[in-house]
C-alpha cells in the first residue's frame, strides 16, 4: 500500500471512468453511487483506487455581479456550470461527490483527455473540488482508451510542470467570456430599445471573423451578375465508339463565334492532330487529424463538422478509435503497426485488404502537422462490442479505410490528351484511367477517381463529326461555404482551435445569423456584422483573433503571460465598447430592423424553383395577418403570384424530387400519424385523379 488512503482518479467523462477502472483493476471493479454519481473502486497490486468522472466542464467562468443588463464586465470567477445558467445538469452534485471522495484520498491522478480542454477540466476540479491539489496530482496521458494504453499511462504517470495547457485553457475561457458577455450585453440592449423586447444578440471572439468570411461571400453572391457563354462540343465516331470533345476555345464569349463554329464543323471530317498519354503517380493520403476527418466525413456522408466530432468522441469512448481532437497527421511507429493491423484484420470486411498490406513494408505516409500530445486519428484495433449505429459505423469505416490507405503503394493513373482538328477549329478530350489502384483499393469507396475512357485512336486518323452542339451557359456565382469548407478557411486563417471551430459554426446557426446546410447568411447576420464592422471593427478582425490564438499558444508552451494577455483583452474590449455605446441608437435601429424582418417573415424553407415565373423560389412563409403558413414565391414583390396553401398542423419538410405529375415541389408532412407526401400545387392533375 502506498501510504494511507486511496488514489483518486479524475476522468473527463463517465464512460472514460468505467474504461479506466476496468483497465486498471486486478479483478472486477465495484461501482457505487456518491451524490448521485457513479464511482468505481478497485485494487491494483497493493494500491486502492477510486475512479470518478466529470461530465465535460463542471466549472465555468461567469460575472461575479451576475447582472444581465450591466456592462462592462472585466472581473470573472469560476463557478459550477449549473450555478451560472449552463445547461449541464448535475455539475454541482458531481463536484460534491468529488469533494467528498477527495477527503479520503492520499494521491490524485488527472486522467482527463490530454489537451487544453481536458487539462482545464482536471485543473479546475483538482483546485476547487479537491482543495488545491493541481500542483501535486499526477498526470496520466493516453491517446486511446484501450487497456494497454491506459495501463501504460498510469505506470508512467508523473506530476506536471508549468501547467501550460491548463493555464492557456483558463485564459481562453476568461478572455472569451469577457469578449462575449460585454458584446452580448451592449448589442442586446441596443436592439431592445427600438424593438421594446429582449432578444439575445451576441458575437463571440471566433464567431466575429468567421461571420466575416461568410458575409464577404454572401455579398459577392447577392451582387452577382452572370455572364453568358457558349460551350461548343463535337461528337465524333471512331472505331464504333462515339465520344465527345470540347472546342479548345470553349466556353466562347460571343454567340456569333459559337454559331460560326457550328456552321463550319457540321458534317465535316476531323483529323486526329495529337494523341498523348502520360502516367502519373498519385501518393496515398496523409493520416487524419480532426479537421481532415470532418472535411472527409462531410464529403462522403454529408455530416456537419459538429456531428462528426460527436460521433468521433463516441467511438473514442468505445475505445474503437484514438483521441479525435488532434491536429496531428503523424502516426508514430511506436503504435505497432503490424499488431494493430492484425487486430483490425479480425473484422472480415477488412481482413483481405489487411492480409495484402501485411505482405508489404509497413511505412505510412505522414502529414506535415505534428502534435506532441496525440498521434493522428487511427483505429485502436479493438472490434466493436455493440452494434454501431449507422452513422457511427460509417465514420468508423472511414477511419479504418483511411488508416489502411496510408500504408498502400502509390496509385498509377494514365492521363490522355486527344486533340481533333476540324478545319480551322480544334476539339480536345482529356481522358483519365487508373492503371494500378494502389492505395485507392484500400481506401475503397472513399477514393475519388474520375474514369474517362478515350477510344483507341492514332494521330492522323480521319474521323467523322457526328454532331456538333452549342449550348448557352451562364457563369456560376461564387460558391457558398459548406460547413466543411468554412472549417477549412478557419484552419487556414488560424481562427479558433481544432476543438472549438465546429461549435463556433454551430453557434452562428443557432443565433440565426446563418441558415441551413448551404450556410446562407440571414439579413440579421449581415446587419450584426455590418454594425460591428462600422462601430467596432476589431471585434470582427481576423488579425486580432489570430494574434490572440498565437499568444495563447505561447502560454501553452511557457505556462506564463496570461495576466498580460487578459489585460490586453480588457483594453481592446473597452475601446470597442466606447464605439458601440456612442452609436447605440443607430446600432439598435439597424439590428432591430433586421431582427424584425427575420422574425416576422422568416425564410423557413425553400422548396424549389417557382414553376410559374421560373426565377423565384417557392418558400414556406407565414402570413403576418393570420399567422398561417403557406407557400409563396420569392418574386412576389416583382409580380409573381404563385402561392399554395399548406396543412397548418405538423411539420413540413421539402422533398428533393418534384411532383411526377406537374413538376411542382413536394413536401413531406409529419404529424402524429404516418408522414405523408403532398404536392403543393392545388391544380395538380394527380389530385384530380384521386378526387381531391
Amino acid at each position: 500500500m502506498k501510504g494511507e488512503g486511496y488514489t483518486l482518479v479524475i476522468c473527463e467523462k463517465p464512460d472514460a471512468a468505467r474504461r479506466v477502472s476496468e483497465a486498471l483493476s486486478d479483478g472486477r471493479p465495484s461501482s457505487q453511487t456518491v451524490e448521485g454519481t457513479t464511482v468505481y473502486r478497485l485494487t491494483r497490486g497493493k494500491e486502492e483506487f477510486v475512479v470518478c468522472a466529470a461530465q465535460g466542464h463542471v466549472y465555468g467562468v461567469s460575472d461575479p455581479a451576475d447582472e444581465r443588463n450591466v456592462y462592462p464586465v472585466f472581473d470573472v470567477e469560476w463557478y459550477a456550470v449549473d450555478a451560472v445558467g449552463d445547461d449541464a445538469k448535475g455539475a454541482s452534485r458531481r463536484i460534491d461527490a468529488i469533494r467528498r471522495l477527495s477527503d479520503g484520498a492520499a494521491r490524485f491522478v488527472n486522467a482527463c483527455d490530454f489537451d487544453v480542454e481536458g487539462e482545464t477540466i482536471g485543473f479546475n476540479i483538482l483546485r476547487y473540488a479537491c482543495g488545491g491539489k493541481e500542483g501535486s496530482a499526477l498526470r496520466a496521458k493516453f491517446s486511446t482508451l484501450t487497456k494497454e494504453d491506459l495501463v501504460r499511462a498510469f505506470d508512467e504517470a508523473e506530476s506536471q510542470k508549468g501547467q501550460g495547457l491548463a493555464r492557456a485553457g483558463r485564459t481562453r475561457h476568461a478572455a472569451d467570456f469577457i469578449w462575449g458577455v460585454n458584446l452580448s450585453r451592449v448589442l442586446s440592449q441596443a436592439a431592445r430599445r427600438p424593438a421594446q423586447r429582449y432578444r439575445t444578440v451576441s458575437i463571440g471572439r471566433v464567431q466575429g471573423p468567421t461571420l466575416g468570411f461568410l458575409v464577404d461571400r454572401e455579398r459577392a453572391i447577392r451582387s452577382f451578375v452572370p455572364t453568358p457563354r457558349w460551350s461548343v462540343t463535337a461528337e465524333f465516331l471512331a472505331g464504333g465508339l462515339s465520344f465527345t470533345a470540347e472546342h479548345v476555345k470553349s466556353p466562347m464569349e460571343a454567340m456569333k463565334d459559337a454559331q460560326r463554329t457550328v456552321e463550319n464543323c457540321l458534317g465535316s471530317q476531323g483529323i486526329v492532330k495529337s494523341m498523348s498519354k502520360k502516367t502519373v503517380e498519385v501518393g496515398p493520403p496523409v493520416p487524419f487529424n480532426i479537421g481532415d476527418l470532418q472535411k472527409e466525413a462531410y464529403r462522403a456522408f454529408g455530416f456537419p463538422p459538429s456531428r462528426t466530432m460527436r460521433i468521433a468522441e463516441k467511438l473514442y469512448l468505445d475505445a474503437l478509435i484514438s483521441y479525435p481532437r488532434t491536429g496531428s497527421q503523424y502516426l508514430p511507429p511506436s503504435l505497432g503497426f503490424e499488431a494493430l493491423l492484425r487486430r483490425l484484420g479480425k473484422m472480415k470486411e477488412y481482413s483481405h485488404d489487411i492480409d495484402e498490406l501485411l505482405g508489404m513494408r509497413l511505412r505510412p505516409t505522414q502529414g506535415r502537422q505534428y502534435d506532441q500530445a496525440h498521434p493522428a486519428i487511427h483505429p485502436t484495433g479493438d472490434v466493436p462490442k455493440r452494434r454501431l449505429e449507422r452513422a457511427e459505423a460509417s465514420l468508423f469505416d472511414l477511419v479504418v479505410r483511411r488508416f489502411l490507405a496510408v500504408f498502400g503503394p502509390n496509385a498509377t493513373r494514365e492521363v490522355s490528351d486527344l486533340v481533333v482538328g476540324v478545319g480551322e477549329d480544334a476539339f480536345r478530350m482529356v481522358g483519365q484511367r487508373t492503371l494500378k489502384p494502389g492505395w485507392m483499393k484500400y481506401y475503397g469507396r472513399y477514393s475519388k477517381s474520375r474514369e474517362v475512357e478515350i477510344p483507341a485512336i492514332s494521330e492522323g486518323q480521319t474521323i467523322k463529326v457526328e454532331n456538333i452542339n452549342s449550348e448557352e451557359k451562364f457563369d456560376e456565382g461564387p460558391d457558398r461555404f459548406s460547413q466543411a469548407s468554412l472549417l477549412q478557411r478557419m484552419e487556414a486563417e488560424n481562427i479558433g482551435t481544432k476543438a472549438t471551430r465546429a461549435d463556433a459554426i454551430q453557434t452562428l446557426l443557432d443565433r440565426s445569423y446563418v441558415s441551413g446546410q448551404r450556410m446562407e447568411v440571414t439579413d440579421l447576420g449581415i446587419s450584426v456584422f455590418e454594425t460591428l464592422e462600422e462601430h467596432a471593427s476589431q471585434v470582427t478582425s481576423t488579425e486580432l483573433t489570430r494574434g490572440l490564438e498565437s499568444r495563447l499558444e505561447a502560454v501553452e508552451k511557457s505556462g506564463g503571460g496570461e495576466a498580460e494577455l487578459l489585460r490586453e483583452t480588457v483594453r481592446t474590449i473597452a475601446a470597442q465598447l466606447v464605439g458601440l455605446n456612442a452609436n447605440e441608437e443607430a446600432l439598435g435601429n439597424s439590428i432591430a430592423m433586421a431582427t424584425a424582418s427575420s422574425v416576422a417573415a422568416p425564410e423557413l424553407l425553400v422548396l424549389g424553383i417557382c414553376p410559374v415565373c421560373k426565377t423565384g423560389k417557392l418558400r414556406v412563409v407565414k402570413s403576418r395577418k393570420t399567422g398561417k403558413r403557406f407557400v409563396g414565391c420569392s418574386n412576389y414583390s416583382s409580380g409573381c403570384k404563385a402561392s399554395a396553401p399548406l396543412p397548418q398542423r405538423g411539420s413540413v419538410k421539402p422533398v428533393t424530387k418534384p411532383c411526377p405529375s406537374c413538376g411542382w415541389p413536394m413536401v413531406a408532412v409529419f404529424t402524429r400519424r404516418v408522414p405523408w407526401m403532398l404536392c403543393v400545387n392545388v391544380a395538380c392533375p394527380s389530385k384530380r385523379e384521386k378526387g381531391h
Binding site: S223, V225, K256
Partner: protein, 68 residues
C-alpha cells in the same frame, strides 16, 4: 436619406450593398453586349432580372433601374 431599393438609412441614393450591385450590373453590361452582338440597357436589365443565377441584390437593383 433611405436607400431607394431597400429603404435602409444611408448617406447616398443607394446603400452600400445595392451600390455594389449597381456597379456589378454596369460592369456586366459590356460583356452582355459583346456576347449577344447588341442589347439595349433595358433588355439587359430584364434578362438579368429573370436569370436564376443573378444574386438577390443585383436582381433588386435591376428591377429598380428598369423602373427609372
Amino acid at each position: 436619406m433611405k436607400c431607394l431599393v431597400c429603404g435602409v438609412e444611408t448617406k447616398a441614393e443607394l446603400c452600400g450593398n445595392h451600390r455594389k450591385a449597381k456597379d456589378a450590373l454596369e460592369a456586366a453590361y459590356p460583356r452582355w453586349t459583346r456576347a449577344y452582338g447588341e442589347m439595349d440597357w433595358r433588355a439587359f436589365l430584364d434578362n438579368v432580372k429573370r436569370n436564376p443565377r443573378t444574386g438577390q441584390w443585383a436582381r433588386e437593383t435591376a428591377g429598380f433601374l428598369e423602373g427609372i
